[in-house]
Amino acid sequence: MMWFAVLAGAAGCYVLKYVGSVIPAHVLEQPIVKRIVLLLPISLLSALVAVQTFASNQTLEIDARVPALAAATVALKFKAPFIFVVLIAAATAAALRYFGLAA
């Protein structure tokens, strides 16, 4: 199943890249298509952030991930580099769990 996801995902992403090089320009240049293509990553990534922060399978809960994301937000506000944002979130969650302050 994992190999299916990896290979099917990769094949589709290549096809998308290829399609752009052969279809007539006017199709993707329609305002509605351009807007949706631009907005898709925003809704998908935001949804992933929300799920990754609050969900455990099908239940919503507040645990160490929430303060960790708050710490990451502060780092992003100060324009910290990507690796720093990730590490500060990991460190916050790890510390809260280590000291038994959050699940």
């Binding site: 752009g20 993707l28 807007r35 907005l39 969900a55 580099p81 990730v86």
Partner: protein
């Protein structure tokens, strides 16, 4: 050596230098991706296959985190495709500039990602008969491809040995990494609405449907808002 040649040499050095530094910056994401892949249940070859074959960071993070949150392979695949749609727009933009055909086209297509497109378009399209744009695209694409894959490998092998990823805060690191990807994309009030709308829909659907589906449902927000705002613009 004539003046035009000297000028091109200077421009070329600068473009290649920029391409290398973008490659190193992206490598930081690559290490995180490699670590994420192997701690969420993919093997090292599977994680590497994503970086080598899919080679578009946001889709890779999407696929892996959807699987990690319990989504089925199918929902993870669809989410990664939706995330990859913007690459179609990129290659449409780059194709007339690159003027490639045959095998060169197939390679250029694979290297068409955020960074290579941004660098290619950042050059004056007519500068040095288009050579600047083409060099910027190819140098950035190749530099990112090389370093992204190297970094994925380093990330994948370095954490496949650790114990419970939660005790290292890896779940929080994934959330933060995805957040850092979307943060710079939110530039207007509409973007912010889409971001909050997507997040809320995903959370609302979480208790109701199997994992993975809530994220796909959130894509509807982009379709609706994109449709409404493009009508308003035209």
């Amino acid at each position: 050596m004539n003046a035009a040649q000297t000028e091109w040499n200077t421009a070329r050095r600068q473009i290649v230098g920029n391409a290398a530094s973008i490659g190193f910056a992206v490598a930081m994401y690559g290490v995180s991706f490699g670590a994420l892949g192997t701690t969420t249940g993919l093997t090292i070859p599977q994680t590497m296959a994503l970086s080598l074959l899919m080679f578009t960071g946001a889709s890779q993070f999407t696929l892996v985190s959807t699987l990690a949150s319990g989504g089925t392979a199918l929902t993870a695949v669809i989410a990664s495709w939706l995330m990859g749609t913007r690459n179609a727009a990129y290659s449409m933009r780059m194709t007339p500039i690159l003027k490639t055909s045959g095998p060169g086209r197939l390679v250029a297509v694979q290297l068409t990602i955020d960074e290579s497109t941004a660098m290619g378009l950042a050059q004056d399209e007519d500068a040095f008969e288009g050579r600047a744009s083409r060099l910027a695209f190819w140098a950035t694409g190749l530099s990112v491809y090389l370093l992204w894959n190297l970094a994925t490998f380093i990330g994948a092998i370095s954490v496949s040995a650790i114990g419970d990823p939660k005790s290292f805060g890896l779940d929080a690191a994934i959330a933060a990494g995805l957040f850092a990807l979307v943060w710079p994309q939110i530039k207007s009030r509409t973007d912010l609405t889409v971001a909050f709308g997507g997040a809320l829909i995903a959370l609302a659907f979480t208790p109701l449907v199997p994992p993975g589906i809530p994220v796909l449902a959130a894509a509807l927000v982009s379709v609706i808002v994109g449709w409404v705002t493009s009508r308003r613009l035209s």
